[in-house]
């Protein structure tokens, strides 16, 4: 059995100031298997991956590769790459201002003079064989997020790695692209590559994986054959408790308040990023959602309402009265809050503390001349750290050092602190574990029952069906349908997105 093992990690420990990220964790990867690494926020998945790839140095433990008896020393990402360990991270770590081909080959050739012509040709072949819609000479930044992700995978694949780590690769891919990636993963598996797959999508785990290792609070829960671990049990193991049935959280179908209690409405609204004018309205206490494939214009539409991009036309009404929204601050003053899709680039102020990140929006609303005092800020921070169960060493900790899900909670806290009337959540659960996902869904429904209007956007249709009472369906930057009540089924949504409605 030990013969086909490609990677063993034993007794891995890693601590950060104030946080024990990994404690005595074991991990085994065999040749030609897809191994899921699962766990909630802050369970230690990312840390384990970063130890393996040399981003962090482990405090204790052993790592062996390819059945060799001695430990391998991985001190830098370069060491890991040389040892045949390739990684595609959750957040894209390529250079957007270089070309696709340059991104695929940069840092791999020790020669000073680089045969770019040859590389471009090679890049073209790889992209073709993987069916990635990008040209080698294209600037990477001009590709969609999904394509950039796939270029990163292509780069890793081409390095003929023994261990391929995919850290949340599917968060920003649509279904077709995910399927494409899966067939690629199966292909690599057949060639004997060991693949570590970190994801929060349970269905995806069961679609491609052979084995699952579960972590919780930095400790190993266990390693399981996929066939022996039903989905419900997996979730229970990740959360460390019996799972409450997710499907029943929407207690009653939220009463359809329809046109009667409309708070915000938009007419013929368009922006620089969303050129096709659209109409929109939302009632008090309503949860609605924008759905559609990646790039269908979901985010662009809500961004137009918030004034995040340059508004080019249309008008917005609040309680029937026209209001002028051209910049985010205008929207905020009208009681609108927007949690952006891209947490890293648009959401967190990475180097500032959790406390400063939480009070930021309220501070801006109060104005330049009315700073929030230290004691008041600390009070707000403690209140929301407790309310949303944000896992942080202290309110003073830089938000950068929190896990993705906790960073997201900090941004949710930031907007809740402004007591908005209308909360727009753009992919709030992307890259977040099941437990936090459920928490956020519950929070959405609770806030709505208290009268807040909420627009909820998610790539997971199931999640939207659970929380939204009305779904606006978009395709190719146009609203193509609106579903409510009985029509809110996965089937119907799919058909509307695909254009099969008659």
């Amino acid at each position: 059995m030990e013969n086909d093992v490609v990677l063993t990690m034993r007794g891995i420990c890693k601590s950060f100031p104030g946080v024990r990220a990994l404690h005595n964790v074991d991990f085994t990867l065999r040749k030609g298997e897809i191994h899921a690494l699962m766990g909630e926020n802050g369970a230690g998945k990312s840390t384990l991956i970063k130890v393996l790839t040399g981003v962090y140095t482990k405090d204790e433990g052993h790592i062996q590769l390819d059945g060799a008896a001695g430990d391998v020393s991985i001190r830098s990402p370069q060491d890991a790459q040389d040892a045949g360990i390739s990684t595609v991270y959750q957040e894209i770590t390529l250079c957007p201002n270089l070309t696709v081909a340059e991104n695929m080959f940069i840092g791999r050739d020790p020669n000073v003079i680089v045969p770019w012509k040859k590389m471009e040709k090679r890049a073209g072949e790889i992209l073709d064989s993987l069916g990635i819609p990008a040209r080698p000479k294209q600037q990477l930044g001009s590709c969609s997020l999904a394509v950039q992700q796939m270029v990163a995978i292509a780069r890793a694949v081409d390095m003929e790695c023994k261990v391929l780590i995919l850290d949340e690769p599917t968060s920003s891919l649509d279904e077709k692209e995910v399927e494409m990636l899966f067939s690629l993963m199966r292909d690599l598996k057949a060639r004997g590559v060991g693949i570590i797959f970190v994801t929060h999508f349970l269905e995806q785990v069961y679609a491609v994986c052979d084995r699952i290792t579960v972590l919780r609070n930095g400790e190993l829960v266990g390693e399981y054959e996929i066939a022996n671990l039903p989905q419900v049990e997996l979730v229970a193991k990740m959360m460390g408790k019996e799972l409450e049935s997710l499907s029943f959280i929407k207690s009653d179908p939220v009463a359809d308040m329809a046109e009667s209690g409309v708070v915000y409405e938009a007419h013929d609204l368009s922006s620089a990023a969303c050129p096709n004018a659209f109409d929109f309205h939302i009632a008090r206490g309503e949860v609605n959602g924008f759905t559609g494939l990646l790039g269908s214009g979901r985010s662009e539409s809500v961004r137009a309402i918030f004034g995040a991009d340059r508004v080019t036309g249309g008008r917005v009404l609040r309680d029937g009265k026209p209001v002028k929204i051209t910049r985010p601050i205008d929207a905020m003053k009208q009681g609108i809050a927007y949690l952006p899709e891209d947490r890293k680039d648009d959401g967190i102020i990475a180097d500032l503390s959790v406390r400063e990140n939480i009070i930021l929006a309220l501070q801006v609303l109060r104005g330049f001349w009315k700073p929030i005092s230290q004691s008041e800020a600390e009070q707000f921070a403690q209140e929301y750290i407790a309310a949303l169960d944000i896992k942080t060493a202290s309110a003073d900790t830089p938000v950068r050092s929190l896990s993705g899900g906790n960073q997201q909670k900090v941004i949710v806290a930031r907007w809740l602190l402004t007591h908005p009337e209308y909360l727009i959540l753009d992919e709030p659960t992307r890259g977040i574990d099941v437990g936090t996902k459920t928490e956020i869904q519950k929070l959405v429904l609770r806030l709505a029952s208290e009268g807040m209007s909420i627009t909820f956007i998610s790539s997971e249709i199931e999640e939207m069906l659970r929380t939204c009472s009305r779904l606006i369906v978009m395709r190719d930057r146009h609203i193509v349908g609106e579903l409510r009540g009985e029509a809110l089924t996965q089937d119907q949504v799919m058909r509307t997105i695909a254009g099969g409605v008659d």
Binding site: P17, D351, L360, L365, F368
Partner: protein
């Protein structure tokens, strides 16, 4: 017990940024104590005007660094918000100084009224030039160093035009008091001015949200904008504040000599100001900052210069010696060394935690 330790470590990390500048100053002090214990003696002497004043190397360090300290404070804000530096501060101080002198000369005699008027005028002019720099950076999104290269290049010519090419003197007991000592107060006036400026800055941070705004803009401009911050205005504001700092520095420098020499006034001080920000542990790429670090940095630079003068190093050689010390300070403060040190710290601390 462990709780106390934890609290202590958090407080410690809060001030970690100040370690490098503090160590730099400490090294210079220790070096001087060994070299010549009388270096730090401060005594009261009578100056030419018959006032009892403090004198000694320590006083001349604090006094001499006044312009630099004021500029370093403004430079810190620009660095934090824009992720770049203003290299035109010396030239702008020369312009401000020229305007100050021009106003003083235009009246029949120099009174407190004309001095106040002159200061307001040169402040206004400097803020306008600061706005020019800031507009290039914030509206046209030009790299700060390139944007301010314009004023760096032409600033001293502008200063030359203001007084028609002359280098007029402004002799008045009031100006001497401004650049030297106010009768009855033994502390040099420039030091008092720095204290006033520092207090103004701390009031600015206390009663406005400038601190969190500039840092947010510097760290993540897109997120700052989505949180309703007017990023263009904040960047502009930091340049306007730096403009006002240039005016203060220009007035101090003019008053010291009672004349304006547009060619040599605060020549090359921009590099020292940037260096003070860096020694203060502030990232030149912007974001989080500590004003106190930059102020300590300014005094460290001046302490170094004064030490070298006291060692009778010829003024032509001083720059070379300075460079050597600066390399040391910057390397100690570099991320690589910091990382190694904190790794060493972590290795040592578990033993402590058990005990």
């Amino acid at each position: 017990m462990s709780d106390i330790k934890k609290k202590g470590s958090i407080q410690w990390s809060k001030y970690a940024q100040l370690i490098v500048p503090a160590v730099a100053i400490l090294l210079i002090i220790v070096f001087n104590l060994i070299r010549d214990p009388s270096f730090f003696s401060v005594e009261i002497t009578q100056n030419n005007d018959g006032n009892n004043v403090l004198s000694g190397n320590l006083v001349s360090i604090f006094n001499g660094a006044s312009e630099l300290a004021v500029l370093a404070m403004g430079m810190t804000l620009v660095t934090a918000a824009c992720g770049g530096q203003d290299i035109s501060v010396g030239a702008l101080a020369a312009i401000a100084g020229s305007v100050f002198v021009k106003v003083l000369k235009s009246g029949a005699s120099i009174s407190i009224g004309t001095i106040i008027l002159g200061f307001i005028a040169c402040c206004a002019v400097a803020v306008i030039f600061g706005t020019f720099n800031g507009t290039l950076v914030s509206v046209f999104r030009i790299q700060p160093m390139i944007a301010t290269l314009v004023l760096y290049t032409c600033g001293r010519s502008v200063a030359y035009w203001i007084n028609g090419g002359a280098t007029p003197t402004v002799s008045s007991p009031l100006i001497t008091a401004l650049g030297g000592f106010i009768p009855g107060i033994p502390v040099p006036t420039p030091i008092l001015i720095v204290i006033v400026v520092a207090v103004l800055f701390s009031l600015l941070f206390r009663f406005t949200s400038l601190g969190i705004y500039t840092q947010s803009v510097g760290i993540n401009q897109r997120a700052a904008r989505l949180n309703g911050i007017n990023t263009v205005f904040i960047k502009l504001l930091t340049f306007m504040i730096l403009g006002a700092c240039c005016a203060v520095a220009g007035v101090i420098a003019v008053s010291r000599l009672s004349l304006i020499n547009h060619e040599t006034l605060l020549l090359e001080i921009e590099m020292d100001a940037i260096l003070a920000v860096a020694i203060g542990g502030n990232a030149l790429s912007g974001g989080k900052f500590r004003l106190s670090g930059s102020i300590i940095g300014a005094y460290a630079i001046q302490a170094l210069t004064t030490t070298l003068y006291a060692m009778k190093v010829p003024s032509t050689d001083i720059k070379a010696y300075k460079a050597v010390v600066i390399i040391l300070i910057v390397v100690i403060g570099s991320p690589v060394v910091k990382q190694k040190l904190s790794a060493l710290w972590q290795k040592l601390s578990p033993g402590k935690a058990v005990a």
